[in-house]
Symmetry: C2
């Protein structure tokens, strides 16, 4: 059994490769919900949707989010009705938010709603939101404190980051299955996602970090930082904002208390030694996923790295 910790696009790309080499039924993915946001009265779960659409093979491949060949007609009229429309909700995509909102309103938890959505889209992989409770990532900028989506999408991650806050983290309980899937896995993979607002959020949920420390599973992470910068997204700006060095070492250091293996890009070969000083088995490979073959190859190396670390 494999359990993965995932954010959005980077994680989705990695998982696309992984499901080609492991039985889907053996995979559980714990997904960040700190990006969740209410828009037009609808509950939007960006990372759950990215993972779900990608694994259902309906994602807009070019963008990495949303549904392929989607239109934006509803949004156009919502704009005419006076709404801000910086969050690009497609017409097909809207069905997911309408259905999720409906299911939540009927009394289902976000886990149950996610499970129903996934089943409708034919997903065999189990997706678990990290929590069913309200949990929102807020960014403290030079002038105000805003929802992460507003920082990222509306303002294009241009603000100076002073702090990152997880609203609701203290009360948020892990969703059913989250801790069990960590304790009972054979392998745990921390996907190449933002270490602060994707993985950091999951780690902040009660019992998760502790479970990762206690589990007998091997825990392997793939660095989202390659050559001193993230492949995608604002990880560098957030890390800088928190006074962290933007490097593979820095990410490894954030995970060191529960990690067995760390995978870094060939480009960062020179930094391997420093990471190993943290006591981590470190593997270098190509981590930049362009083709499906790249994704499968990275998944293969990731699984293999755990086997070899067991033999050490």
């Amino acid at each position: 059994m494999i359990t993965a910790l995932a954010g959005g696009v980077g994680a989705a790309r990695f998982l696309q490769g992984l499901i080609k080499i492991v039985p889907k039924k053996e995979l559980t993915v714990i997904v960040n919900t700190g990006d969740d946001i209410q828009l037009y009265g609808l509950h939007v779960s960006p990372d759950l949707d990215i993972i779900m659409y990608t694994l259902a093979e309906i994602v807009d491949k070019e963008k990495g989010w949303g549904i392929q060949r989607d239109t934006f007609h509803c949004l156009e009229l919502l704009q005419k009705y006076g709404h801000e429309t910086w969050f690009k909700l497609g017409d097909r995509d809207l069905a997911t938010h309408i259905q999720r909102t409906l299911l939540l309103k009927s009394g289902l938890s976000l886990s149950e709603a996610t499970s129903k959505l996934c089943r409708s889209l034919g997903l065999k992989v189990k997706l678990l939101p990290m929590t069913n409770d309200k949990f929102e990532t807020h960014i403290k900028t030079g002038k105000d404190t805003i929802h992460f989506q507003e920082y990222l999408v509306k303002r294009g991650a241009q603000d100076k980051v002073i702090d990152v806050m997880f609203e609701g983290a203290e009360e948020a309980q892990p969703a059913p299955g989250v801790i069990d899937s960590i304790l009972n896995a054979d392998t745990i993979i921390v996907c190449p996602s933002n270490p602060i607002v994707s993985i950091g959020t999951i780690l902040s949920v009660k019992g998760v970090r502790d479970g990762l420390r206690k589990t007998k599973a091997k825990v392997v992470a793939i660095s989202p930082i390659v050559g001193g910068a993230p492949i995608k997204g604002p990880a560098d700006k957030l890390m800088q904002g928190l006074g962290l060095e933007v490097s593979t070492y820095s990410v490894a250091n954030l995970y060191r208390d529960f990690l067995d293996v760390f995978i870094i890009d060939n480009i960062d070969q020179a930094k391997k030694e420093r990471v190993e000083e943290l006591g981590l088995h470190t593997v270098t490979t190509n981590t930049i996923m362009k083709s499906l073959q790249d994704k499968i190859q990275l998944a293969r190396v990731t699984l293999k790295s755990v086997e070899s670390s067991s033999q050490i």
Copy 2:
């Protein structure tokens, strides 16, 4: 000042002509809300939308409802999520329902929400829902009792009609402005709409029928029945179900207590005398509206008929 009582497509067509010959600001339209229905957690007001889209000149002209050049991508995915999709909500159209639901949830009344939507679409005509309270038209068929939309759209008006019920009618208060616009109008036009489920619903709202009897305005109705059948919709089946003769006479008889003038189609010339026996000034003209010219012409005759009736 002119006040019109309106259902959906037939009324919208007539009003399209009317606004070409009277200042829009002098027109108030009281619209049936008995067709309103909750779909996917959204508040849909079919008749308000038909009138609004038509007067905003964005209606799908061929169908007479919905927005022109709309797509149905959201609905496709909602179907995949297990929903029935017999009510054809377009992607652009959805924005209206999302916005209305949002406004209602924020505490606004249906009147206030309607007014906001209309303003966004540039409407100068005042649209008033007949009531802000829950009011649903149900049809008792041979085997069950169903929402009017289910009878009409889902089942294609194929069921035998045993009875028509207005759920909520006893408690429903007229929306603000409804009674005033009846009492203070110079002319009241009952549009060529279904006399049972479009006009009948409005008449059943507390104070409306009484207001129509008391007003000093001339009240004129256009028969929706032409040559013994409705131009569109299931008026014949509903009238039959209620034991009524399907004829212009029968419609006139339903309105006789508050009507001054009744307009019937040239085709029904032979029936004029019988209608006049009800004490109504009766005018024959072409009431079948195909071109904009037809609509304007009917509006002209309607306004003129009231003037001439005043001189009697």
